[in-house]
């Protein structure tokens, strides 16, 4: 029982982080059909921006975390308008090459500005103290991570499923030509969604820096996890991204606990089998 509980608690914290970073990728890929391998870059930028806000501007951790998504969203909009928008509707290979190129450039710029070592995001010491939750030792940092992940998940779900804006986004994901025919400004919608996705990734990168440390190689190292979440979920599904994040976290935690030597093999083999059976992912639609 203790084991079940501790696995669940640890998985939920990992889920929150995966979800925060990946949900934007799922939505933008579904919406724009853009193969954006550079998504992790915005999480990394989030980490660097937060670290800079704390060490250079002397903001408290909370304030820096809250401010970061807006700054990175702004950067995201510029990058989308200047770079990404040129490749909409182009061949997938072009998009892959472009986004991999962006990943290399971002990594090199980060190394030039911040050096090759990991950057520490100074956190209130109280967050790192071990605490007991239902008899399982964890830290209040992980509780904060879970709380933020859960609130964002609920907010995004509500916004997409209950608001007019959400209806527009879903309509554009479903059938872009029809949505444009009905007078939707899809270009504006794309920019807005891209900004939201990058903002959430930045939030995830900043708040999750204790689990996924911020280094110039960030975008490469964790790319596979973000892609797996999107692959399992299917494109353009917010609910799917949440469930997929939880599955990935749960499977890696369980397999690491019970079959430590085969930890990653279990996860990757599972994804492999799933994609054989359902290439569109669990919640994706066949186009």
């Amino acid at each position: 029982m203790d084991i079940v509980l501790s696995i669940l608690i640890h998985s939920v914290a990992f889920t929150a982080l995966l979800y925060l970073i990946s949900v934007g990728l799922s939505v933008t890929m579904g919406l724009m059909g853009f193969v954006n391998l550079a998504h992790g870059v915005f999480a990394m930028v989030g980490g660097y921006v937060t670290a800079t806000l704390i060490t250079a501007v002397h903001l408290p951790w909370w304030a820096a975390i809250a401010l970061t998504p807006f700054i990175v969203s702004g950067i995201g909009v510029v990058v989308e308008k200047v770079l990404y928008s040129r490749l909409y509707g182009k061949a997938e290979l072009d998009q892959v090459l472009f986004s991999i190129g962006l990943l290399f450039v971002a990594s090199a710029v980060a190394q030039e500005l911040y050096g090759p070592l990991l950057i520490q995001i100074p956190m209130p010491a109280s967050l790192l103290e071990p605490i007991q939750v239902l008899g399982v030792s964890t830290s209040s940092y992980k509780l904060v991570l879970v709380a933020v992940g859960a609130s964002v998940a609920l907010a995004v779900l509500y916004a997409l499923e209950r608001t007019t804006l959400g209806a527009m986004i879903r309509a554009a994901v479903e059938n872009r030509t029809m949505a444009e025919g009905l007078g939707l400004n899809t270009s504006l919608l794309f920019s807005g969604t891209f900004a939201l996705g990058t903002g959430l990734a930045a939030l995830g990168g900043a708040i999750g820096a204790e689990l996924f440390p911020i280094t110039p190689a960030y975008g490469f190292v964790y790319l596979v996890y973000f892609m797996i979440v999107v692959a399992i979920a299917g494109l353009g599904t917010v609910r799917g991204a949440f469930i997929a994040s939880f599955l990935v976290a749960l499977i890696s935690t369980i397999s690491a606990y019970f079959l430590p030597e085969y930890g990653t093999i279990v996860l990757f083999a599972g994804v492999f089998l799933l994609l054989l059976v359902r290439p569109q992912g669990l919640f994706g639609r066949v186009s």
Binding site: H10, F14, L117, L118, S137, G263
Partner: protein
């Protein structure tokens, strides 16, 4: 027409090459005294591991600036730095070949990675070029070429003696957690031998995947097994800090499970990132940046005057002593033109003034004989530091002692 052109061009090239080959020794012979001795440095200065090559480069230049002139006399040394981009044997082998055939270096040094050094070994033998290992820790490496001499350590040295020390200090049951890659396997085997020989019992050995996002479940398993000590080896860098945070968070320390490992678990340059989470961790290593030996204080003063707040670790010391041996060999052989004489000089290298203490090359194995220090992480003025408190003096590589050539 094309064929004729090609033949003529080819003939010219062959003629040129013969002429060049004949001329080369004469030019070299005439100018030997004035020409600098060339040292080809191979380490990683880009990508994820860029900081390690950077430390080695800084240390080599620091030595050349402050210490070398007194040893070298009229000779000078020119460093030719090459980036092997990481554990990348093909690139390293190509760089070594170019350095030997085109740049005509007298030494290949740096040699940060074991797989890269293993790939370079046959090139050194063929080119009769001495190779000075300043970091690679694989035990077998120095056997792969008679031209390799090591100034760092073998992982067996630190991990074996960690096992011996732990068993002698009331740790009866140990849990072994290593990353599933070659150094991890070395660490696992060395600790296991040292620990069990001295009466300890290893209750479980687990290898973690190298791309591992979350250490929590592994540590939860250790918590449930409740050993006296957890021996861990991970690749260092960001993973080292994440691991340390997870160790603190899961409360292993409060349960009385001591975390022990080789010095890479609490690297001197990573410790500030780990903060209080690393307090009380026991490690074994050939060097601590915080050591109070006069030679280390001298090194620290030079380094801080030159590079300010930039932190260093054992990489700087492997490089420092390697450069000392190179300079001494250049002086003794009057220019390092005779590579066999150079190897003889390197084999006899001995100093009591290394920042790590007394250091000697085992002339039989060309591997290093040095002290292994047991250290504990303690907070000094709010900053965690590796504080040495016990010493295994002048130890050889335990693997070679048990596996004679």
């Amino acid at each position: 027409m094309t064929v004729k052109m090609t033949r003529r061009t080819a003939a010219k090239m062959i003629g040129g090459a013969i002429g060049g080959a004949l001329a080369a020794p004469m030019i070299l012979g005439r100018a030997a005294a004035a020409n600098p001795v060339k040292v080809g440095m191979i380490y990683t200065t880009s990508g994820v591991f860029a900081s390690s090559g950077d430390i080695m480069s800084k240390s080599a230049k620091l030595f050349l600036k402050h210490e070398a002139p007194a040893i070298l006399g009229d000779h000078t040394i020119e460093l030719i730095e090459r980036d092997d981009t990481g554990p990348n044997p093909d690139v390293a082998k190509r760089l070594a070949t170019e350095l030997i055939t085109r740049d005509r270096v007298n030494f290949i040094a740096g040699l940060q990675w074991t797989p890269n050094t293993n790939a370079i070994a046959p090139v050194l033998t063929a080119g009769k070029t001495p190779g000075v290992i300043m970091n690679a820790t694989g035990a077998v490496t120095t056997r792969l070429s008679p031209y390799l001499v090591r100034f760092s350590q073998t992982l067996w040295q630190s991990c074996y003696y960690m096992g011996v020390w732990a068993a002698r200090n009331r740790m009866k049951k140990a849990y072994v957690l290593v990353t599933d890659f070659s150094p991890g396997h070395d660490a696992e085997a060395a600790f296991h031998l040292g620990f069990t020989e001295s009466g300890g019992e290893v209750i479980e050995q687990v290898r973690m995947p190298i791309r591992n996002p979350d250490f929590t479940p592994f540590l939860q398993r250790v918590l449930d097994a409740n050993p006296d000590a957890l021996f861990c080896f991970n690749p260092g860098g960001p993973q080292a800090t994440t691991f340390m945070r997870a160790y603190a968070e899961l409360g292993l320390r409060d349960k009385g499970i001591k975390l022990i490992g080789s010095g890479y678990l609490t690297g001197d340059d990573e410790l500030p990132n780990m903060g209080a989470a690393a307090e009380g961790v026991f490690t074994s290593h050939f060097y601590s940046a915080a050591a109070e030996r006069p030679a280390n204080q001298h090194f620290r003063d030079l380094w801080q005057a030159e590079y300010g707040d930039v932190l260093w670790n054992e990489l700087a010391i492997g490089t420092w002593d390697g450069m000392a041996a190179i300079c001494q060999a250049v002086a003794e052989t009057n220019g390092a033109d005779d590579s066999d004489a150079v190897i003889e000089s390197l084999r006899r290298f001995w100093t009591k003034d290394s920042p790590r203490g007394t250091v000697q090359i085992d002339s039989e194995t060309r591997d290093i004989i040095q002290n292994i220090y047991i250290r504990e992480v303690k907070m000094v003025d709010g900053v965690p530091q590796n504080i040495e408190f016990e010493t295994f003096e002048s130890v050889k590589d335990p693997w070679k002692e048990r596996n004679p050539a």
